[in-house]
Symmetry: C2
Subunit: 114 residues, 2 copies
């Protein structure tokens, strides 16, 4: 009987580190996932993302995001549901997540037009 | 006779890539350098930074920043002078650099108080 899966390791709000957050967001697939999470307040599981990676890579990306404090994960039966830590990020680094998400949308729009 | 040192490779404004920019800024030493550059419009050389790394590591960090499009470099005699590409970054990703620099200052202030 393990409770580890119920409480995955993540930094507290005060422990959020800028370099770690930027590193977590510096991967195109993770940026795509975070954009997807920003649209769904109740959270999403790994399988619900249309990303060009295997499930285990997806799981790895979510671990990086969680350990940097960008997302939190909760277990719901067999699903691990991911949600953005928008309030914590906003409190620690005001405007950061919103600006990066907007930049990601701008870049996507530019790429789509090209 | 080489002109390579006069025109180091860097992406054009339209080629700036969000993930690459975030990756360049996801290192504590590079964040420190970019904070230093933001204060000096005329640019600074590697040797002028009070960072806890060797000159060759400093040179490497500036290369990462240049290749991501965060800075540009020009040769002045024996010195390579680095300046932030603030206008290009602002045009491509509005608010991004300013928000990250502010977050870096906030984190530094918080660390100093702790």
């Amino acid at each position: 009987m393990s409770t580890l899966t119920d409480t995955p390791v993540q930094p507290s709000r005060d422990e959020l580190d800028l370099a770690a957050v930027l590193h977590a967001l510096s991967d195109p697939v993770r940026l795509m996932m975070v954009r997807g999470l920003a649209e769904v307040a109740e959270g999403r599981s790994c399988g619900s993302f249309d990303v060009p990676v295997t499930k285990s890579t997806c799981t790895h990306h979510f671990k990086v995001l969680r350990e940097a404090g960008v997302i939190q994960q909760r277990q719901e039966g067999t699903r691990r549901v991911n949600t953005l830590r928008e309030e914590d990020l906003e409190a620690r680094f005001p405007g950061l997540l919103g600006t990066i998400l907007q930049a990601a949308r701008d870049q996507l729009a530019l790429t789509a037009r090209a």
